[in-house]
């Protein structure tokens, strides 16, 4: 029986449309009823370099990429050289004959070589040389007998902006390559991706899009940011939706301006957010503290990439955890969420605003390149749009202010530490917000008592916030020999690894930490106490979450799997290291 679970990899240079065509093909697969996980890998340059786009396809949900490839679409010699070794037995490679392929080595591994004249096909159909990518995907589709009309529907949608001529020529190129591959090679390739009969329609989106959607539905009205990979697409998505949905989006001169603008906007009363990565967040540090002491509800999305400084600009890491927890001088409350799936990104997008307004403090959503820019197919109802709630916390209404007796105290001492908040503009509530220490009425002070009380008042807010912080998600059997512990974007690779282990007869489960601060120590201690062997898996070199876990729960972790080469954790990477632990 032909295989229906496979991984495509299209590799080429920047400028060859690897990402855009790969994303288009992923969408086609979803339209035909397949589950998909798509991931891009590229260098920080506009032209040249080596990029690839990888698509995992299955009839069951796919949560992560894998390191092996079933069908390689190589547009350049470098793609051949880098990736032929990744192809599994029974897999294949599509490329032009002009590229050098070590056929003997492929034969040994039972990997098929499918030479397709991609450039000639593109040019014969009146297309430009760059349409090789369309030809390659057409050929891939033909090889696995993918329904061409589904592919055509995505080409029509994606090229519609460029006009009817662009649509037609891309369709011709794709179809010619499709026929060529089908006629020449389809019998020699044992994979079939037809239409999945009865599959419901699904969406395909990445973490940044899900987070943007959540923020939009959660009432985000103002977004300020400076483009920085991997957060840029949030700024762009919001900008393209701004007019229709009533959002003001400001591309700022730098990230200092971005954080100051969201503080100014949030102070006036609109829900405001700034998306950035570690470098931009570094610039926002002083502003973060200003939001802390002025008790201004802001949301910052920190999509991590490997540092320090520019590090690996287009790659992934989870090494900013302790940084975001401690950023800015002094002590003040903050809330940090670390979504790990598309669904959790959506939820974090709106929940962050509620937490920010209820506790009048900055909220940081900590994501990373792998989560931000990888796409996954999800059910149409997977994101509960109608379930989005808006809770503005103790925000005084105009009527309440009209009836206010006595002076309004913006920083009044209260049981919970949360002071009822007025927005500037009401005659009864003229007040100052200030980054200096202040008395309850917002005036500057350096006196001992108000200083002590204001520090305590601010920190007290975390007690109630703590109640809203959710413990870890358990995946797999309740009792297991080994518990894999992860946070944020490790969810997908860990889940897949757990499935592999259990399918192989081992006994494994996983604990996924999705809310990081205030640290859910009690829930984590309880969960970890039940685990027999605890393996911490995270995308950094020093074990930042391991440090937090051990410091706050007193539980000792047995083993560590870490990755800090800029590439995302994959099930294979994790399983290989577990093997080492087992035998070592």
């Amino acid at each position: 029986m032909p295989s229906t679970e496979m991984t495509f990899k299209i590799g080429g240079e920047a400028g060859q449309g690897v990402e855009s065509s790969g994303a288009g093909f992923a969408k086609s697969l979803v339209r035909a009823g397949w589950h998909v996980f798509g991931m891009q890998d590229y260098y920080s340059r506009i032209r040249g370099g080596h990029n690839f786009y990888q698509i995992g396809v299955s009839d069951r949900p796919v949560y992560s990429h894998v390191e092996s490839v079933d069908l390689l679409l190589a547009l350049t010699q470098e793609a051949v050289d880098r990736h032929c070794g990744e192809i599994v037995e029974g897999g294949g490679v599509i490329c032009e004959e002009c590229l050098e392929v070590d056929c003997a080595s492929l034969d040994q591994r039972d990997v098929s070589y499918f030479p397709v004249p991609l450039t000639d096909i593109a040019q014969e159909q009146g297309g430009a040389e760059v349409m090789r990518n369309t030809a390659a995907l057409g050929a891939a589709a033909g090889l696995v007998r993918f329904p061409f009309e589904v592919m055509a529907s995505v080409i029509e949608d994606n090229f519609a902006k460029k006009g009817a001529e662009a649509v037609q020529v891309n369709l011709r190129v794709a179809e010619a390559a499709y026929r060529y591959a089908q006629e020449q090679f389809a019998d020699k390739f044992d994979y079939r991706l037809g239409r999945v009969e009865g599959a419901p329609p699904r969406m395909i989106m990445d973490g940044n899009q899900a987070l943007s959607l959540g923020a939009l539905l959660g009432g985000c009205k103002f977004v300020a940011g400076y483009p920085m990979t991997p957060a840029t697409s949030i700024l762009q998505w919001m900008a393209t939706h701004a007019e229709r949905y009533g959002v003001v989006v400001k591309h700022t001169e730098d990230e200092i301006a971005a954080v100051m603008m969201i503080i100014g906007a949030a102070h006036m009363g609109v829900r405001a957010m700034a998306p950035t990565s570690g470098g931009g967040f570094s610039l926002m540090n002083e502003g973060l503290g200003l939001a802390g002491i002025t008790e201004t509800p802001i949301v910052i999305v920190e999509a991590q990439r490997p540092g320090p400084a520019t590090g690996l600009a287009t790659r992934t890491e989870q090494a900013d955890l302790l940084f975001v927890l401690h950023a800015s001088q002094g002590e003040f409350p903050r809330i940090v969420l670390s979504p790990g799936t598309i669904e959790e990104c959506f939820e974090a997008g709106w929940r962050a605003f509620n937490l920010a307004e209820k506790y009048q403090c900055p909220v940081i959503v900590l994501s990373d390149n792998f989560l931000a820019n990888s796409v996954r197919s999800i059910e149409m109802g997977a994101l509960d749009f109608a379930g989005v709630q808006i809770d503005r916390g103790q925000l005084l209404t105009k009527k309440e202010l009209d009836e206010l007796e006595g002076e309004y105290l913006r920083y009044a001492y209260t049981e919970s530490g949360v002071s009822p908040r007025a927005l500037p503009g009401h005659p009864r509530a003229v007040f100052q917000g200030t980054g200096n220490e202040h008395t309850p009425d917002g005036h500057l002070t350096e006196e001992i008592e108000p200083r002590r009380l204001q520090v305590e008042k601010r920190l007290k807010k975390l007690e109630a916030a703590h109640e809203e912080i959710r413990g870890p998600v358990l995946y797999g059997p309740k009792k297991a020999e080994v518990t894999l512990v992860g946070w944020g974007s490790t969810y997908g690779p860990l889940r897949e690894a757990v499935d592999v282990l259990n399918a192989e007869g081992a006994s494994a489960n996983m604990l996924h930490i999705r809310d990081v601060w205030p640290f859910p120590a009690k829930a984590l201690r309880e969960a970890l106490d039940k685990a027999r062997r605890r393996v911490m898996v995270e995308g950094n070199a020093t074990g930042q979450m391991a440090h937090l876990l051990e410091a706050h729960t007193g539980v000792k972790l047995d083993h560590h799997v870490r990755r800090y080469d800029g590439r995302p954790l994959s099930p294979q990477y994790i399983l290989e290291r577990l093997e080492e632990v087992h035998h070592g």
């Binding site: 001169e253 949030a266 102070h267 609109v270 500037p424 503009g425 980054g435």
Partner: protein, 290 residues
């Protein structure tokens, strides 16, 4: 009718006796009350420095931020609520040093913000270091052999960046400063008011006696046209025996940034409320991902 007293705060300034900030503070209160703007209709955004404490001593909506960062905070505030009159009040270290980059961008956007810079040409709150507007050779604790840096020319920079209103005042001529501030506040777009602020503690060389005989009102010079950019360039360079104050340059009718943001045509963002999401909205949003 709004009165001067409406802006009076029970908190008294901690400025040195004779500080130019007193005059600027009073001039602001006169200007705002004479324009019949009530304290709750005004947001005063400040940075860090002696003069940036102005909202602490004034009954007005205040946002006392970080050193050099008041303009982007004011920009966010304006975009969130353009029904509010927004002023930035900060010193030369704040506005022309740390915040100079933000100033260039606020200017080129023509944000509707009145930017009042208390320019005493020295760092006062940190007790006597040279500032971006200190003259070359200025001896301070951080320039014991005299400052080597060439001073910032705020008027020329504002003009180069495309400011639609550029003015200057001198607090010893309080009424004149009030009038300049009023015109700046009424101006639609970014308005710079550079104020020659004597610092009686750390910059005795540039005290009242220094400025008094030198200042003259440029816009009252015969034949001076405040809409003439070339003439403004000439006067912006003038600094020495004669120091121009008043309105150097003003061009009206340039759209502000806020006016060009289509979403804001529906009124101040903060008053627009949350969208009532419909099934149709949800369907459209989901369709983008299918």
């Amino acid at each position: 009718m709004v009165e001067f007293q409406d802006y009076q705060s029970p908190v008294r300034p901690t400025w040195c006796k004779g500080c130019g900030d007193y005059g600027i503070w009073n001039a602001l209160k006169f200007a705002l009350s004479e324009l019949d703007l009530a304290p709750h209709e005004v947001l005063m955004v400040t940075g860090i420095g002696c003069g940036s404490k102005t909202p602490d001593y004034t009954r007005v909506n205040g946002l006392h931020t970080l050193h050099g960062r008041s303009l982007p905070a004011a920009t966010g505030a304006r975009l969130a609520n353009h029904g509010m009159k927004v002023l930035c009040v900060h010193g030369d270290g704040d506005g022309y040093g740390m915040g100079l980059g933000h100033m260039m961008h606020a200017v080129r956007r023509n944000m509707d913000i009145t930017d009042v810079v208390q320019n005493n040409r020295v760092y006062g709150l940190t007790k006597g270091q040279y500032s971006p507007t200190s003259p070359e050779g200025f001896v301070t604790k951080t320039s014991p052999q005299g400052a080597i840096d060439h001073p910032v020319n705020p008027w020329a920079l504002a003009l180069a960046a495309g400011a639609t209103f550029i003015g200057r005042g001198f607090p010893a001529d309080l009424r004149h400063l009030v009038e300049v501030l009023k015109k700046a506040i009424q101006h639609r777009g970014y308005a710079l008011v550079d104020v020659l602020q004597p610092c009686v503690s750390f910059n005795k060389g540039y005290a009242y006696e220094y400025y008094q005989p030198r200042v003259y009102k440029v816009d009252e010079e015969p034949g001076y046209d405040t809409t003439d950019r070339a003439a403004a360039w000439q006067r912006a360079e003038e600094w020495g025996d004669r120091i121009p104050i008043g309105i150097l340059y003003q061009v009206e009718g340039t759209p502000t940034y806020e006016e060009q943001v289509s979403v804001l045509r529906g009124g101040p963002l903060v008053n627009q409320g949350f969208r009532e999401w419909t099934d149709d909205d949800f369907e459209k949003l989901r369709a983008e991902f299918v």
